[in-house]
Amino acid sequence: MTDPLLLLQAAADTSRAYGEFPVIGARAFVWITAEVHLMFAAFVLGVPMFAVVTEAIGIFGGDERYDRLSKEFTRLLLVAYSATAIWGAMLVFGLSTLYPRFWAYLTTIFAPSMWLYAALFFVESFTLYLYYYGWDRWKKGRAKLGHWTLGILLNVWGTIVMFIANAWLTYMMSPPRDITPTTDPTTIKLWHAIANATWMPINVHRVIANVVFGGAIVGAYASYRFLAARTEEERAHYDWMGYVGNFIAMSALIVLPFAGYWLGREIYQYDQSMGITMMGGFMSWLWVIQAFLIAVLFLTGNYYLWIGMGRIPGAERFRPYTKYLLIVLVLGAIVWGTPHTMIADSKELAAMGGSHHPFLGALGVMSAKNTAVNLMILTTFLSFLLYRRANTRPVVPWARAGTIIQGAMFAVAAGVVLFYGIRGYFVEAIVRIGFSVYQVLAVLSCIVFVTVIDILMARGAQSLGAIRWGRMPPRSQYALFILAVTFTWLMGLMGFARSGIRQYWHVWQVMQDTSKYAATPALGYASKMISLCVLIFLSLVAFVFWLGGLAEKSTFVATAEGEKGARHVGH
């Protein structure tokens, strides 16, 4: 903190640097508009990704249902798209009127990218219109492939748009080191500002998170339609759609922590004290809340799968084992949620000899937590595997050997995770950090190889009866709602973490926030804001979906339900 900077800031204060918004205040206004805009944006970026994938499955796999599913996804996009734009406009107006000095600074650096952003947004919208309204027109043969290409283009535009916006906000977090408070913003090269330390990690993290988020919202939509369905067939269709949404969300969720890990590492490398503020400083409690939310996600996601086994003939073979998976998950959640620094009153503190519990404290450190979460991921994957295999019996001659190899892979992966977890207690921190990479690699390679074996093994497998889509108790659908709410809330929370570690800086150590809202609020206040944003978002989404239902009948078409063996996604 150099002194010329403080002087500069003080001088800037005298001119009009900040506006004020009635009642809720400037910060709250920008907070809400940014967060809701981001949620809609995540939705409209995530959904096209699997709309394209499901369309491809429909084209190349020849299953009509996927094509219809894809179209229904896209229909959800149309209205959500304008909502994104509206909230984005509110955010921009909010920033330019409430934080004019900061906004002027950002525009000075990023102006050309902002023009490009607007242009791409325009192109993206029209690609979406073509994609949706041309669906039935270009239905056959080469035209269909052209249509699919439109979908890919839609994703390309969307991704570029997001990358550009990410450049602005990552610049705020991690401006290149040679930029100081006295640097004239007009002299900063655009690309230099864009390619800052956290840009790529955020890009990757957000692409994956968008898929998760899109999947979760689509799942909630499907579960709503399921609960509202009047016929068996409609119920079957939306049951299946909810399953697909959940499947996509959970599979992408499994890779998300690794992207997050990369981001965290870049933050640490960019600025140690920023990293410590995030993980160990005033934000450390945020991670306990995050652990709780992720435990909810894992448990609810698995719960949905296990209930789903009730509709699969043949699943009863695996049901007795789910309780062991549950035990692993609950133990994992307990370890993962164990705080290192415990909330305790003075008597308990005296008994423990400090805020670290002499015995349970060992569960509060990184080694234990990484081990727990990796085992939880493995368990969830195993749930999926059992679910996939539930109504088939493999017929390939090496089926037995294959299963044994798969089992061995699980054992090895779990062993590696446990080994490095325990070993982590006996080495210094810097080595321990490296161990988490080995754990992750073990889990990832187990997932990849086991899946490959499973696909090979499922060839020509004998069916034990069609999945009875639609035979789900309502509480499974409520689980999907909990998933959607939790994902959305988690997104708000992580957004607060990412933005909050800048603390009282607009641009980290370059431009200080001298408004009366410069202090970073406590978690309690943040959680209320997050809940409010989630509520606004979900209400609007409900409205959007309701509108969609008004305008058009559901894309559901009665067909011979569950045609032969009803394959799952993921094949």
Binding site: S273, L326, P358, G361
Partner: protein, 268 residues
């Protein structure tokens, strides 16, 4: 005598409702009763007990409801208690019990006590990038103990560190460096236990230097509400004395200080 009892016990043991009750009881006994009596352990704070019990409760609810049949069985006794005329007494007891429980919880929440409320302070708040030590600016980021640069003189530095420790730190941090000095019971927060794997073992030497030099008054706000009583040692010790005592702390406890990222990527 026992033969007619067995089937009854088994019926209870296999019934999801009683299984759920049993698991919850067992978990509670383990967390509250068993964990504290393990060697080297201590009582589990109430906040953590609550957290564990909620997690187990969620697990139990998932267990009883992930299967239609089990869910139906689980609900049976609950429904029976609520509607069946023959269970009138049980119903009355449950209603009274729940009411009393809610009342007790509410009472416990609002009752005033003399004890300080549970404290939550960041034990290791983010250090500043640089500090002013007796008017001299010291950059903490990337800083390592300068005394380590003279391996030949380490024994003498260690001797000096030991002297400094026993002259200044002993009363609070104790003879065993475990935070159990004579004065320790009077403090909130308690003096740091250097033997614990969560204190100096997790920190760089520059962080320890910052904490020693600036003491409790130098803690940022997240270190509140109960600031540590650690004195501002820069007023009493020289820079070299602080570095030597840090050297002594690591040497004596056997921990190795956390190293900076860069040095490792250089090695590998």
């Amino acid at each position: 005598m026992s033969s007619p009892l067995r089937p009854a016990i088994r019926r209870y043991a296999e019934h999801p409702f009683w299984q759920a009750v049993g698991i919850l009881l067992l978990a509670y006994i383990v967390v509250v009763g068993v964990v504290p009596i393990l060697p080297g352990s201590a009582i589990v704070p109430k906040s953590v007990v609550l957290q564990y019990m909620i997690t187990v409760l969620v697990g139990v609810l998932i267990y009883v409801s992930d299967n239609e049949e089990r869910w139906r069985q689980f609900k049976e006794p609950i429904q029976a208690v609520l509607v069946e005329p023959r269970l009138k007494v049980v119903r009355a007891v449950v209603v009274a019990g729940v009411t009393a429980l809610v009342g007790l919880v509410a009472y416990g929440q609002v009752k005033t006590t003399v004890a300080a409320p549970p404290n939550l302070r960041s034990i290791h708040p983010a250090p500043p990038a640089e500090i002013t030590f007796r008017g001299k600016t010291i950059t903490l980021t990337g800083l390592e103990n300068p005394l380590r640069r003279y391996p030949d003189s380490l024994p003498s530095y260690l001797a000096e560190g030991k002297r400094v420790y026993y002259q200044n730190c002993l009363p609070c941090h104790g003879d065993h460096l475990d935070g159990q000095g004579h004065f320790a019971p009077g403090f909130n927060p308690l003096p740091a236990n250097f033997q614990d794997n969560g204190t100096i073992a997790q920190l760089t030497e520059s962080f320890v230097f910052w904490r020693v030099a600036k003491g409790g008054p130098g803690l940022p706000r997240e270190g509140t509400p109960w600031n540590s009583a650690m004195p501002v040692w820069e007023d009493f010790l020289t820079e070299r004395e602080i570095w030597s005592v840090i050297l002594f702390l690591y040497e004596q406890t056997g921990w190795t200080p956390r190293t900076w990222e860069k040095s490792v990527s250089g090695e590998k």
